[in-house]
């Protein structure tokens, strides 16, 4: 009984770690832009460049690199443009905060417009 328990635990851990690695690979490749394609992720692309990046990512995962370390390695070589989700930096404040700013401005405009129509109705 103890043997069966140990064997099943071993297989459970093994399968889980394999799936975790596949998930991590998938997650990383979906956040990488194929630089020689038209708006495709590395995951979707079959270009020669994407194939090479895929095998480099596999190697890095195999060598125990963390997700952020892989992003850092690639953005050091190709710039933040390779990342679909670039890190928050001084140069991209506009990219990160413009949607929130527009959302707030939109809310204010809608508020004033609805207030005006309410006054008119009265």
């Amino acid at each position: 009984m103890k043997k069966i328990f140990l064997i099943s635990t071993f297989f459970f851990v093994l399968v889980n770690s394999v799936y975790a690695e596949v998930d991590l690979r998938d997650k990383i490749l979906k956040n990488l832009r194929c630089l020689v394609c038209q708006g495709q992720t590395m995951s979707d692309s079959n270009s020669d460049f994407a194939q090479t990046i895929k095998s480099v990512v596999d190697d890095k995962i195999g060598h125990g690199f963390k997700e952020d370390e892989i992003y850092k390695f690639l953005s050091d070589k190709y710039g933040d443009w390779i990342l679909f989700n670039p890190p928050l930096k001084k140069e991209n404040y506009l990219l990160w905060f413009l949607p929130y700013f527009l959302f707030i401005i939109g809310g204010i405009v809608i508020y004033y417009l609805s207030k005006k129509t309410q006054i008119k109705r009265k």
């Binding site: 020689v36 020669d48 460049f49 090479t52 095998s55 480099v56 050091d76 070589k77 190709y78 710039g79």
Partner: protein, 172 residues
């Protein structure tokens, strides 16, 4: 009220135009500015003909180094080769050729036909080592100074203007 509406419409149109203009003006593709000024990584490369590897640190010795990524199947590489031959005559410069995803026989034939400008010839059969140099495709060329800093990166075949630019940097 009508005036306000017009102002809002104009503001929205200007905003859309601005976003489209900025997106179309985007020159991020093949942008190498992130590499320039950085220290060159220490990378192990396979020798083209003999067994074994060498590390890039071993070649940065008081000379400018030009890494050229090429293959016999690449037509622009054939076009730029005469410019590499021109540069190979410069004593301040060492040219390292990295044969990229190529068959050794075809690469040898290519060099026999067009000449060999490389002081060291390496190979990258699966293209993985080239990622350490930020390579997109070939031909690409990277100029490294005596302190192993990346001075310039050329994406695409070297032309005469590039040759003169490299010469002027190297001979300073």
């Amino acid at each position: 009220m009508k005036k306000n509406k017009l102002i809002i419409i104009y503001a929205v149109l200007i905003f859309i135009f601005l976003i489209l203009y900025l997106s179309l003006d985007n020159k991020k593709i093949y942008n190498t500015e992130d590499l320039v000024g950085k220290k060159m990584n220490e990378v192990d490369l396979l020798y083209f003909e003999s067994e074994g590897t060498f590390n890039t640190r071993e070649i940065f010795k008081n000379k400018f180094v030009l890494f050229n990524f090429w293959a016999s199947w690449c037509a622009p590489c054939r076009k730029e080769h005469k410019n590499l031959i021109r540069l190979s005559k410069n004593k301040n410069l060492e040219i390292i050729g990295v044969n990229f995803k190529d068959s050794p026989q075809s690469a040898k034939k290519f060099l026999e036909e067009l000449g060999n400008p490389f002081s060291i010839l390496a190979k990258d059969p699966d293209g993985k080592q080239s990622i350490n140099f930020g390579i997109y495709g070939i031909p690409e060329t990277i100029l490294i100074d005596k302190d192993s800093n990346i001075v310039k990166k050329y994406v695409g075949p070297l032309n005469l203007k590039d040759v003169n630019e490299i010469r002027s940097i190297v001979e300073k």
